[in-house]
Amino acid sequence: MTTESRSPSQIVSVLVAALVCDVAVVDPSTRKKNLIGIFDRVNVGKFPTTRSMSLYLKVTDAEGDYDTEVRYVQVGSGKVLAQAQGKLHSANRLASIDLLIQFPPLPIPAEGRYEFQIRANSVFLGATFIDAVPRRQS
């Protein structure tokens, strides 16, 4: 039995989209991805709290193998609160890769900005954010 080991691609891919939403599902018949409740702001009654979120990513101009990492970071403190890792492979630079990451409830310790930072083969491709704000009392 041989073990195939492929070296990470040197091509820097381009992050086309990164969206945070409530629910992300794949239609089993068409394989199309459906994003429900896209948001970039969370109204919080009381800190700290947690919230389930899904992240949709789309990358293009990629060829070869990529060790992909998504870090959920509290921007103000720079603390990495959660991390997702996986492998991506693209055979064609002209094609695009998209994927869904369904996170379990993520911590929101305090008011402020939280980023999902995307890296492929340790190269920072971009980020998307959510702002956690206190819910206004009426």
């Binding site: 403190s77 996986g86 094609a95 994927l99 369904q102 491709l125």
Partner: protein, 138 residues
């Protein structure tokens, strides 16, 4: 604690013309940093961010061909992001802000040097040569 969660189901058997589906091989996602139920209130250790390989300059006209090395330093309350190869700096209250500032600075530097390239001194010629090696104009 590391929790493994299932990645989206793999597409059905490859169809000859289904390029997009065949290019996806995101196998698994590992989530780390997910703590016990009271984790939202926990005191998270500070993240040490000293270096990033930058794969984008946030400008649709420019494409990073080869990752740009960015070093972070703290000066008082501010964070400084340094584009080492270009001796360019970005400033902010946190690493994310400093990185965005640096990205804008690098893009601005590119277009300034491109415009003035015929009358650059030796040092700036070197910077321009490095920029052209690292960044491709679309």
């Amino acid at each position: 604690m590391v929790t493994k969660i299932q990645q989206i189901a793999q597409p059905p058997a490859r169809q000859p013309n289904d390029v997009e589906a065949s290019d996806q091989e995101f196998r698994e996602i590992l989530l780390s940093g997910l703590m016990p139920p009271d984790y939202a209130a926990m005191d998270w250790p500070p993240a040490v961010l000293d270096q990033v390989l930058l794969g984008t300059v946030r400008d649709g006209r420019l494409r990073v061909q080869s990752p740009i090395t960015v070093k972070f330093t703290q000066e008082g309350q501010n964070i400084i992001a340094e584009g080492v190869e270009f001796n360019e700096f970005g400033f902010g209250e946190n690493p994310s802000e400093a990185l965005v500032d640096l990205q804008h600075a690098i893009a601005e530097l590119y277009f300034t040097l491109e415009k003035e390239h015929y009358r650059l001194g030796r040092d700036l010629q070197r910077v321009w040569a490095k920029l052209q090696k690292k960044i491709h104009k679309l």
